[in-house]
Symmetry: C2
Subunit: 347 residues, 2 copies
Amino acid sequence: MSISTVYAAIRGRADISQATRKLVMAKARELGYRPDSIARSLVNRQTQNIGIVVPDLARSFFAEVVTGVEQQTSDAGYTLLLCNTHENRELEARAINSLLSQRVAGLLIASSHDRGARKVWRDLEGQGTPFVLIDRRFAKTHFVGCDDRLVGRMATDHLLQQGYRRIAHITGTPNLPPTIGRIEGYKMSLERSRMKVCEELIIEAHFHEEASAMSAMNKLLSLEHKPDAVFCASDSIAIGALQAALKSGCTVPQEIGIIGVGNHRYGEYVRVPLSTVDQKQIDIGEKAASLLLDLIRERKDSGHRFILIEPELVVRESSRKSNLANSSLKSWKTTGCGQRRKLATNR
Amino acid sequence: MSISTVYAAIRGRADISQATRKLVMAKARELGYRPDSIARSLVNRQTQNIGIVVPDLARSFFAEVVTGVEQQTSDAGYTLLLCNTHENRELEARAINSLLSQRVAGLLIASSHDRGARKVWRDLEGQGTPFVLIDRRFAKTHFVGCDDRLVGRMATDHLLQQGYRRIAHITGTPNLPPTIGRIEGYKMSLERSRMKVCEELIIEAHFHEEASAMSAMNKLLSLEHKPDAVFCASDSIAIGALQAALKSGCTVPQEIGIIGVGNHRYGEYVRVPLSTVDQKQIDIGEKAASLLLDLIRERKDSGHRFILIEPELVVRESSRKSNLANSSLKSWKTTGCGQRRKLATNR
DNA sequence: CTGTTAGCGCATTCAC
DNA sequence: GTGAATGCGCTAACAG
């Protein structure tokens, strides 16, 4: 029997007789044969791998995004090649390069570049490997992520509706698109309510550093004219801020209202159950993966697709100043965390 | 100029003149040439990829292990191929198979098999690809993980030293090695103190399901002879137990002491700051990765290596019954969480 | 130092 | 239905 007959049988091609196929399969099993996907990829000029590049897998946000991605891609027969960039642009570039030279079928990237970056994505597009940016939005690329301006507006609107009147903002890591978007949303919300934006109430911190949030909060509390609420750009920041507020003797939510972003799994268990805006990270992962799979299959260039996931307000203790909370909330959907439940039951 | 000269220049072989090399490099850059690692792998019969198989990346424990692994492997020029098994043995087997047929240089596996499993690992060994099991320990394999019996002993000893006298245990997911090890440690500790082990005080839950822990705790609280402390097999479980205890009106740590395992990043921020046993997940990842890299390089078969990471007791409010806490703790090291700091400063 | 040759395991094409 | 031939991009071994 010739070599090509064997391969044909194994790949299940139609023009092979049942008899030969059975024979081949039996022999293959007996010999412990395993098709070599490397060799196959060399011929096909493409692997069944998808590269995913994130700043820090230890952050639950990205861990959950990756979980969502993995679910979709593994169902479609792809495996994930994972790179951690530690929020470092140079490592990011190296990772992308390495993934390209491994001939991944596509790329998912949560980039650490400043919002302005353009050339990187233009160049990458020239490489011909489809890619989708996630979480951190840039112009003229495929993108899946949360609508950060909306996040900022929802959080700030909520605090206003609760009756807070001097609302501060502790931002995320400077210059990142989500940070900028949330600041914009925060300002928009205030302006719509005809409140003035006060720059001294906007303080920088880092997304995943509770300590940075604590010192930001301490600065706010030492202000002559203290805020009565704080919109924090992440749950980590909110937890840091909460900690600092309590330590300095403030009551939450009475003297200071706090709301975060990300709906961290343990947000409801912290000292004061944390209000938050859920970004639906699992959804982000799933949608990003299926968009990428479409791009891989269809190779259509029908313009850049921008998929914005609707965030969802989750109100708990930390921002519940008024008891009117429930009635005044109708403008935003406020349900549980359906995404996690979905993930759990999916398998 | 011949093809092989070009390759030699690009790979930086010594026997190429500077002139040619420069020429080649210039041309390569101009043409946007990128070496094809697929083709290289086909010749070398091995990729620069390492497969990592985990039950659930959304659990911070595994996310942190993977982070530790990634750090080591990417420094050594390897990329991670990540598979999520959802604690499902069949998916695990498929993942391992797929990784082998991709010719990974090595495998890191946190297996969902019951403790008894043997054949799987014998068979895998026959494949010739080096692999290291992580977190979940099995006989006759390379292994890196926490010493779970020690974890159980440390937690239980600590509760005893605090003066708790009727100590319950909410276990992890049944039949998994860490679950079994921690139960054993718990029993050992009680026996050494000449307390009797009471089976009605041992209740099953799942590592990552707060809800399962809540109902376990409720069962314990409805016992005629209630426990005065609970050793929980994970921080998620501890948080669920804590929640249930508080809801039923118990005070923690006065009426019920609680300790978990895993030193979750937010454990210190929950309603009652959570005592825990740190498993050093980042260390586990790093050590496992470097052991695997050794195996890949040396291919020595000098017996199975068993690396047990020393857990570390972290005492916070939830188990601090006596004020003698600090003095009576000398038997176990109790410091901060150095591993996370290390990770942060590594880059 | 540089060029030639053979072959890694598979898929495709075209004979038979 | 089946078999033989060719090449994917690279490396290794050797010849010049």
